[in-house]
Symmetry: C2
Subunit: 168 residues, 2 copies
C-alpha cells in the first residue's frame, strides 16, 4: 500500500481550502463584532510589496484548481479575480472546492510521471507530476493559506492552529 496521486492531492487540498473558509468566516465575524470596515481586513498585507488578503486567497484557489487540473491533463476554469469582500472570497473558495470535488481518482492517479509545463513570465518550467504535486502545488497552497491566516492574526483576529489544520 502506498499513497495515490489522488489521495495526496484532491482531498488534501479540499480540506485545506475548507479550513481557509473557516479562517475567512472568523475574519468577517471579527470585523462585524469590532465594527471594523471588513474591506480593511480584505486589503491588509504584511508588507507594502506583499499581496493583500484578497490576492492570497485568489492565488490559493488558482494553485489548487490549476494544479489538480494539470495533473489530470485538463485546463481549470478561470475566475475573474474580482472579489472584494469576505462573502465573495468565501464564495470563490466554495466554487474552487466544488470544481475539485468533480475529480475522480482515476483522472489523477497515474500522473506521477506526466510532464507538466508551467508558463512563467520569463521562462517555462517543466516538472514530472509527482514533484509538481509535492514540491510546487502543495507547498504553494499551504503558503497562501498560512499567509492569509497570518494577515488576519496580525490584524487581531482570534485564530488558532486548529483553524488552519482542521479538526483532527
Amino acid at each position: 500500500m502506498t499513497i495515490s496521486m489522488y489521495q495526496a492531492s484532491v482531498p488534501v487540498v479540499i480540506r485545506t481550502l475548507n479550513n481557509l473558509v473557516g479562517i475567512l468566516e472568523k475574519g468577517a465575524k471579527h470585523a462585524e463584532t469590532k465594527k471594523i470596515d471588513p474591506s480593511v481586513l480584505v486589503n491588509s498585507r504584511l508588507f507594502p510589496d506583499m499581496f493583500p488578503l484578497s490576492r492570497q486567497v485568489q492565488i490559493a484557489s488558482d494553485i489548487a484548481k490549476r494544479g489538480v487540473a494539470q495533473l489530470a491533463g485538463m485546463e481549470a476554469p478561470k475566475f475573474e479575480d474580482n472579489e472584494t469582500t469576505f462573502v465573495e472570497l468565501i464564495d470563490r473558495i466554495h466554487k474552487t472546492i466544488s470544481y475539485l470535488d468533480t475529480f475522480k481518482p482515476e483522472q489523477v492517479d497515474g500522473s506521477e510521471e506526466r510532464t507538466i509545463t508551467l508558463q512563467m513570465p520569463n521562462n517555462t518550467l517543466s516538472f514530472q507530476g509527482m514533484p509538481f504535486l509535492l514540491y510546487f502545488v502543495l507547498p504553494n497552497v499551504y503558503f497562501h493559506v498560512t499567509t492569509s491566516y497570518d494577515i488576519l492574526r496580525h490584524c487581531g483576529v482570534e485564530l488558532g492552529k486548529l483553524d488552519y489544520l482542521g479538526q483532527p
Copy 2:
C-alpha cells in the same frame, strides 16, 4: 507507480528545511547590511500572542523530526530550544536535516496504517500514518516555515517565493 510514504515525507521535509536555512541566512544578512540588532528579527512576531521567529523555527524542526520518527516507530532526539541567534537557529535546522538524512526508505515505507498517538496538553490524538503525514506533519511544517518567512518579510527582509519553494 504511486507515492511511497518515504517519498512524501523525508525528501519533502528536507527540501523545505533547506529553504528555511536560506530564508534565515537572508534575515541575518539583512540585519548586518541595515545595521539592525539581529535579535530584534529573531524575536519578532506578527501579533503579541503569536510565537516569535525563533520559536517558529524550533517548532518547524520539532514537527519535522518527530513526525518522521513517529512514522518509523522511533523517538526523535530532543533539542533544548535555547537558540537565540540566527547562527544557532540555522545550526538547529542543519542538525534536524542531518537527523532526517539518516532515515532509509524502508524505515518509513509501510507506515500508511501505523497508529500514531500524540499526547496533547488536554487529550490524546490518534492517527493512521498516512493522514498523520498528509493532514498533520506536512501542513504543520509548511505553516511554521511560511510564518518564519512572513515574519521576516514583515520586518523588511527581501525574500521572494522562490526562497520558500526552492529552485525548481
